[in-house]
């Protein structure tokens, strides 16, 4: 950060704008959220080192995504064999896939906020609690003395419900 403060500020601003998009992208390529954070951190460092090479900052988002793609594929090759790690072929396919939701981050997240508010309190607590850093469904079930399978089921249903709701909200707003 020394020597070129204005450059650094621009970089940080751009990175902040793209952070949730890049995390959402990397999520499909590596198995755990911890892996996502590792890859995104590595991606940010590389992007900073190469930032001078980027001639048009309007292309920052796509450029960052390219780095993230490369880093994700590289990272997943270093992972131990686990059922969570998909084949190379599938990983490439997923890296190129586009989702059905095309709305921007802010609109999508706003839609999700609205959908969470429509859930009753217990369900909202559950879905947020199991997505907290370091929380596993097993650990959550034990801590709350509830059957693990029941929690898995509820979480699956809530995911589906939220996804349907987000899509509907975006469609109603003409954003999808």
């Amino acid at each position: 950060m020394s020597g070129k403060p204005s450059n650094y500020e621009t970089f940080v601003r751009l990175l902040i704008e793209e952070e949730s998009a890049v995390k959402a992208y990397v999520r499909r390529l590596v198995p755990t959220w911890h892996d996502v954070e590792e890859v995104v951190q590595q991606t940010s460092l590389i992007a900073w080192k190469k930032f001078d090479e980027l001639d048009d900052i309007n292309r920052f988002g796509g450029w960052l995504m390219t780095i993230a793609r490369f880093e994700s594929l590289k990272y997943r090759r270093s992972l131990a064999r686990s059922p969570l790690v998909f084949s190379d072929k599938l990983a490439e396919q997923l890296a190129d896939a586009t989702g059905n939701i095309v709305a921007g981050d802010a609109d999508r997240q706003q839609a999700l906020e609205g959908c969470l508010q429509k859930l009753d309190q217990a369900r909202r607590e559950l879905i947020l609690a199991v997505h907290q850093p370091g929380v596993t469904i097993r650990g959550y079930a034990q801590q709350n003395s509830r059957p693990e399978q029941a929690i898995y089921k509820s979480v699956h249903r809530l995911r589906q419900k939220l996804l349907v709701c987000v899509k509907q909200t975006l469609a109603d707003a003409g954003l999808s």
Binding site: R27, Y75, L84, Q93, L94, N100, H131
Partner: protein
């Protein structure tokens, strides 16, 4: 495959519970269908959004002291540009927010964000107290209540059994109580004294402060006065200025400097001379305080001698300030026998009061503040870290306790997450595959998180500790002497070692020139930091806590 089955498989993948057979099933359907890949991508996006929203958690941390008057730990945190879901926050033990650009967000942004919190009544921190306990010396209170310096006091009974306290009312009036006394706080402007001796100082700002005694009501006109209640006998002594004394059945009287008024139930009022020496005074208070803390320091130092000479100790940083040390940056390692080159060096952090006034501490505030230490490259089969800390704010995504510089193979990181969880981790490189294949030497950390235990209310000192056994992969974290988490990492693979190398207390590492680095400085104070080369037992940790309790 039907939608339900597909959803279950993707969900299991997201939750990390997908088995090998399910994995093949899921991969087959994803490889053959672009539509399913799109759905998969949508679900991954949803998962990422939910995780970003859930990263910031608010709650009443474990161990929050319900007896204390201040607001519940509702230090509602503010959120990035996407705003706060106030409706959810209101009824929920969690609140949610997008936290955009954590670690990199500027302080200015955070301050602005914090002030937005007030937009919803239910989220705003409320204070229902009427006074602050500004000084406490060797005080014992009735019942199980333990008050601490800085606590807000609610209206209600306040019973002191011994010791001395100073209470600052929100109106500006100050009350000194010495030895056994019973007072009732009514509001910022009014109190009752039912038993004991109380000295009041009332600055012009607080003129009109009322103090009620059995058989007498005193309204202050800007002054210093004292009252004594001994059974049915009440007396008033004015040392400076004047007060109104209202005695039922007689006319209001103005009592001036140097005079006293005594009222017993069976007799009328008796005028006399005031005797300041009989009442609690600021000077006496100071003297007593000094004496008490000198005694306390002496006892503590004696007790620490055993700790210093423990054969397992590597670092015994007691945060003694050496007044005559010219540079004032030395943080001695008191471990016996002495380890050469293991002394710490303070960078930025400044010397302040620690757990008690004559115990120094270092205060970490700015992004550069830290204590540098280097314990060498020796490898150990485990470790213990134990520290006395006062956390003033959890400003960063990760707030450093001790972080090794490079976070290389076998090096520990110990920090507090923004949510108040203690987080300990050790960085390990993956083992190379046996067949000599090329592989990327990425890390696979062993990460351990406690429940939320740290809160920033009340600027209270707390003892935190972690023990780690590198051979079994088990880490136990402690808060105020009690184990709060015990876990074996899912990434643990056989015998490992730990090592320290160059580390920073209260911050992370030596920034590499030209590379942005996450800011992880602690906002708070540290006045003791112990490092052992073996995991200590639960009893030993609880003993360390008992040794160092501030009051």
């Amino acid at each position: 495959m039907n939608d339900l089955r597909f959803m279950d498989l993707v969900s299991n993948w997201l939750d990390g519970s997908l088995c090998a057979i399910e994995s093949e099933e899921l991969q087959a359907v994803l490889e053959s269908s672009a539509d399913r890949r799109s759905e998969f991508v949508d679900l991954c996006g949803l998962d990422a959004d939910l995780r970003l929203m859930s990263e910031v958690v608010i709650g009443t941390p474990v161990g929050a002291d319900s007896l204390r008057a201040p607001t519940k730990a509702k230090s509602v945190r503010a959120l990035g540009s996407f705003g706060l879901i106030a409706a959810i926050a209101a009824g929920l033990f969690l609140t949610i927010g997008y936290e955009i650009g954590r670690d990199r967000k500027s302080d200015a942004e955070q301050q602005i964000a914090t002030s937005q919190v007030a937009s919803s009544d239910s989220d705003e921190v409320v204070e229902s107290g009427c006074a602050v306990l500004s000084r406490v010396v060797d005080a014992k209170f009735a019942g199980d209540v333990q008050y601490h310096e800085g606590d807000s006091l609610q209206p209600g009974q306040f019973k002191l059994l011994s010791g001395a306290v100073q209470i600052d009312f929100f109106s500006g009036a100050t009350m000194l109580i010495d030895e056994a006394a019973e007072v009732k706080l009514i509001s910022s402007w009014e109190a009752e004294c039912a038993q004991g001796k109380v000295t009041m100082h009332v600055p012009p700002l607080a003129i009109g402060f009322r103090l009620t005694l059995p058989g007498m009501k005193v309204v202050d006109l800007g002054t210093e006065f004292a009252v004594e209640v001994d059974g049915a006998e009440s007396s008033l002594h004015v040392f400076d200025g004047e007060v109104e004394a209202h005695v039922p059945g007689s006319q209001m009287q103005i009592i001036r400097e140097g005079n006293s008024l005594k009222k017993a139930t069976d007799r009328g009022v008796v005028m006399g001379i005031s005797k300041a020496a009989d009442f609690p005074s600021v000077e006496e208070f100071e003297r007593r305080k000094e004496e008490y803390y000198q005694r306390k320091t002496k006892q503590w130092r004696a007790a620490m001698n055993t700790v210093r000479s423990d054969e397992r100790i590597l670092g015994c940083y007691q945060f003694w300030r050496w007044e005559d040390e010219k540079w004032d940056r030395l943080v001695n390692n008191f471990a016996i026998p002495k380890l050469p080159y293991s002394h710490g060096s303070a960078v930025g952090a400044r010397w302040v009061d620690g757990r008690w006034p004559s115990k120094p501490a270092l205060e970490f505030k700015s992004p550069g503040d830290r204590v540098r230490i280097n314990l060498g490259k020796d490898q150990y089969e485990g470790l213990t870290m134990a520290a006395w800390i006062r956390v003033d704010g959890l400003d960063r995504k990760y707030n450093a306790l001790l972080l090794s510089d490079g976070y290389e193979d076998g090096e520990p990181h110990w920090q507090i997450e923004k949510s108040g969880r203690l987080m300990f981790s050790v960085s390990y490189m993956r083992f190379p595959p046996p067949n000599g294949q090329q592989f990327d030497p990425y890390r696979q950390d062993q990460v351990y998180s406690s429940p939320q235990v740290v809160n920033t209310d009340g600027r209270r000192w707390h003892h935190v500790a972690v023990t780690f056994d590198a051979t079994t992969g088990e880490a136990v974290q402690y808060f105020d002497g009690k184990a709060v988490s015990r876990e074996v990492s899912e990434h643990h693979l056989g015998n490992r070692k730990v090592t320290f190398g160059p580390c920073a207390i209260g911050n992370w590492g030596m920034p590499i020139e030209g590379v942005p680095f996450p800011v992880r400085n602690l906002n708070g104070r540290v006045d003791e930091f112990l490092i052992y080369k073996e995991p200590l037992s639960g009893d030993e940790i609880s003993n360390l806590y008992e040794l160092g309790i501030p009051n």
